[in-house]
């Protein structure tokens, strides 16, 4: 009996460890492959110059257009999205506090929207653009990405608001606070969580390819207005990777290194913010 328990215990321990470490090894393998192929092609010139003549045949130029395009798109979309998502998350948790069924239905809807593939968002936005006679542009890309990341932001903030103790809501209301004033308290209480939700959305937005394929287009230039098309890092990777020329492929990997670094930095910041509970937060 005792021996069986020891075997069971060890089996369970190594079983779990096997899957966990396997995944980590695979991730490191991917990162290693990208770095091995991409880092040699990485240069200051590549980061700071737009594609020049012959770039797509392996000659001079860089992916500055895609770096800036991606930042514009992800930042614009994140700001737009949080402006809509924050009121939605507050509404679910303050105004609907006693309507648990409605709350859960709304949560389910956003979970479903979260699961809709980005290409569907892209195609849907594209069909609207055709109806309105609009061309692929930075603005169209920002709008599409904003809708794509809204469910992520709403649900991430919703989880943070949901964990605010009921007693804080009751105490605030008992001081004669209106719902708007309660929202102010919730905002302060949940600030680290809101920042995390913003960065989660940003990371999803900057890494997405399909939604911007039809909507933001692609260009070798840095967009100077919202009406111009914008290049993005994921598309830069996609186009260059399909080239038969080795130098171009290497640059695709270099672009992937840049994108991975962006996401790494964002993840570290968001982990830091969510672990560092605001000094004033009540638990």
């Amino acid at each position: 009996m005792k021996k069986r328990k020891i075997i069971e215990e060890n089996f369970f321990k190594y079983f779990l460890a096997f899957f966990t470490y396997s995944l980590i090894v695979i991730l490191f393998f991917i990162v290693f492959e990208i770095a091995k192929k991409g880092v040699p092609a990485l240069s200051w010139e590549m980061m700071t110059e737009v594609p020049k003549g012959g770039f797509y045949f392996g000659k001079e130029g860089g992916i500055y257009n895609a770096i800036i395009g991606s930042l514009y798109l992800a930042l614009g979309a994140s700001i737009l999205s949080i402006a809509v998502s924050l009121p939605v998350a507050l509404f679910i948790n303050i105004s609907l506090v006693r309507h648990v069924k409605i709350q859960n239905t709304i949560r389910l809807i956003f979970d479903l929207l979260w699961g809709v593939p980005p290409i569907v968002y892209g195609a849907f936005a594209f069909s609207i653009m055709i109806i309105l006679g609009l061309k692929a542009s930075l603005l169209a890309g920002i709008l599409t990405i904003a809708f794509l990341i809204m469910p992520v932001m709403i649900r991430a903030m919703d989880e943070v608001f949901k964990n605010i103790p009921m007693g804080l809501l009751e105490s605030t209301l008992s001081l004669g606070a209106t719902r708007f004033e309660v929202a102010g308290i919730f905002f302060r209480q949940a600030l680290p969580g809101i920042a995390t939700a913003f960065l989660l959305g940003f990371a999803k937005g900057i890494g997405d390819t399909a939604a911007v394929l039809f909507t933001a287009g692609y260009t070798d230039y840095v967009p100077e207005s919202l009406g111009e098309p914008a290049a993005t890092l994921p598309l830069a990777i996609f186009y260059q990777l399909s080239s038969p020329i080795e130098e171009v492929k290497a640059r695709a990997y270099a672009a992937a290194v840049v994108l991975t670094l962006f996401i790494l930095v964002i993840s570290i910041i968001s982990r830091y913010l969510s672990s560092k509970v605001s000094k004033n937060t009540v638990t």
């Binding site: 209301l173 008992s174 209106t178």
Partner: protein
Amino acid sequence: MSFPSEVLHLDLKKSDDSKNAQAESILKISNLDVFHNDHHILKKINLNIPKGKITAFLGPSGCGKTTLLKAINRLTDLHNGMKVTGSIQLTGKEILNGNNDLPDLRQKMGLLSQRPFPLPMNIFDNVAFGLKIQGVKNKSEISDKVEFHLKQVALWDEVKDRLKSPATKLSIGQQQRLCLARGLAVNPEVILADEPTSALDPTSSRKIEEQFLELKKSYTIILVTHILRQTVRLADNIVFMYLGEVIEQGTPYDIFQNPQSDILKNYLNDGH
């Protein structure tokens, strides 16, 4: 059989009786029923809460005392499936009809919960918050009032040098006094205290109790508790509840020296 009051070493005087009978009532609860889905939590409650006194809702856990407290400032509205019928009148004005100005109503009834929930801001702003949402803009008026209310709960000397530090840095006893000061700052008529000392150490509990005795000179206090000794120390009027019903109501003398029902007699015998 010895009376519970003897076991508790209480010095109860019958003269309390006449005082309560004369006291004007601030809250009048009639035929109050509260349902949570199919569960009948409060059953036909009829009560008068005397003004300027400490009324204790006494009873075992789950008897509905906290629900009754929350129905009084309509925090029951926040709970899914909660239905409240009957009448609660605050100085003659009906609370339970739907078209009340809820923020105004709740401001008249300060809440002190089981454990403190300071607002996510510094000590000063915690007390100032209520004043600000009431529209007080004058900075010197705000800081005078913050100081006054922090002194009122005997917290000023402990925090005057760190008013800008987060309220969460205070000990739990200090936080509870801060929450009391925060509630007093909006000038309520009634203080609803839901087992306010249950999370506190004996010293902090004693401080809160001392403040209650002081505060009853200017406010009506409703105290939810299951601590018999606390009830004896503080209450002028006791409402004993059991399974959603008011079993007995009276002065400490009535309740402890002369309990009528078997339920109350058993509760008192279990409690000492």
